[in-house]
């Protein structure tokens, strides 16, 4: 178990090094693993997108419907990036699943940043900080308006049409 914990810590450390790298010059160069986040860091990441519509998606490699809807998020970001939509992914994978996570992101090639939830603390506090009505089910998506206010929450697997509907309403 200690070995596993060490492996996880090493993976997180490797991620931290990547975080220290310069910011990407374009969305196409965006890091596929953008770092680890706690509730405070997540709020800051969303706030940094102020002025844009934000689609915040919580997922995990072990979650089949998450993997199924992920290509639609990649497509959505490509289609709506220029119109003011940012997509942010937050993986709930554990550090031991880092190889699977990296492999999935490499194959999916999202042009948007994906973070991993920081291990530690009570997951309930993290869940509550995102939305009091969220029970912790995955996938889960929160859509924020240009003003940074939460506009909609989407529980469970979505279609491209439902993602598009959610953002289109906020771009008017």
């Amino acid at each position: 178990m200690t070995r596993l914990a060490n492996a996880g810590a090493a993976a997180i450390a490797a991620l931290a090094v990547r975080l220290a790298m310069p910011s990407p010059a374009s969305a196409a160069d965006a890091p596929r693993l953008a770092g680890e986040l706690d509730a405070k860091g997540l709020a800051a990441a969303v706030a940094a997108q102020h002025g844009r519509v934000v689609v915040l998606n919580f997922w995990a490699t072990w979650c089949v419907p998450c993997r199924e809807e992920f290509p639609d998020l990649v497509r959505l970001e490509k289609a709506y990036r220029a119109r003011g939509v940012s997509v942010l992914g937050v993986s709930i994978d554990l550090p031991k699943d880092m190889p699977k996570l990296e492999k999935f992101l490499s194959a999916s090639a999202p042009d948007f940043p994906n973070y991993i939830k920081r291990v530690g603390g009570d997951d309930q506090d993290f869940i509550e900080s995102v939305d009091p009505k969220w029970g912790g089910e995955l996938p889960f998506t929160v859509v924020y308006g240009r003003d940074g206010r939460k506009a909609q929450v989407l529980s469970g697997k979505q279609t491209y049409a439902s993602f598009e509907k959610a953002v289109a309403a906020l771009l008017k």
Partner: protein, 194 residues
């Protein structure tokens, strides 16, 4: 008439596209009654179970969800330990993607000594507004909902649990005390609704 049919069709499409959830029963309210069949074909009535046990623990579970599977041993062991104290644990599989046969084989494989029910059309999950697996509900003899949420705070490693919430709730109730934390949350797999 055509307009009415069109409107009904649209409503149908909307219902398919966006599953709606009932309001979750509040703590202290009456837990919705239901009758289902277990995966081995036996009838199960929540009303009867409430009458013949001090408490009933409903657990929405899955066969393929790693978060739910992380609790297989804990569910089996808690069910056995608390059965001696008059608590009946009951598993409910509401996933449209997991068959009766698969659910039965999974229960057998993991040595579940408690009844496991299949919830066709996720009607009971809808009644309870259950969203994920695992998600548990504790119901008293009077049918009142007393606890809703997670089993504990660590699905990955039972040895690292710091908040055994279901155990705490049951121990408090069995000791005639008030449950200090009646609602808890955890990550889990979405229930795959039909």
């Amino acid at each position: 008439m055509k307009t009415l049919r069109f409107a009904v069709a649209l409503l149908g499409i909307a219902a398919l596209a966006a599953p709606t959830f009932a309001d979750a029963p509040a703590i202290g309210s009456t837990a919705p009654a239901f009758d289902l069949k277990s995966v081995d074909g036996k009838p199960f009535s929540l009303a009867d179970a409430e009458k013949s046990n001090a408490y009933v623990v409903l657990m929405f579970i899955a066969t393929q969800c790693p978060y739910s599977n992380g609790y297989n041993d804990r569910m089996r062991d808690m069910a056995a330990a608390y059965a001696k104290k008059g608590v009946l644990f009951v598993g409910i599989n509401s996933n449209s993607t997991e068959s009766v046969e698969e659910t039965a084989a999974h229960a057998k494989q993991h040595g579940f000594g408690f009844p496991v029910l299949k919830d066709p059309g996720n009607k009971i999950a809808d009644l309870y507004d259950a969203r994920r697996t695992p998600e548990v509900y504790v119901i008293g003899k009077d049918g009142k909902l007393l606890y809703h949420g997670r089993i504990d705070d660590n699905s990955n490693d039972a040895s690292k649990v710091t908040s055994p919430d279901l155990k705490n709730a049951l121990d408090a109730l069995l000791a005639g005390q008030t449950v200090s934390k009646t609602e808890t949350k955890a990550f889990g797999c979405t229930i795959k609704r039909a």
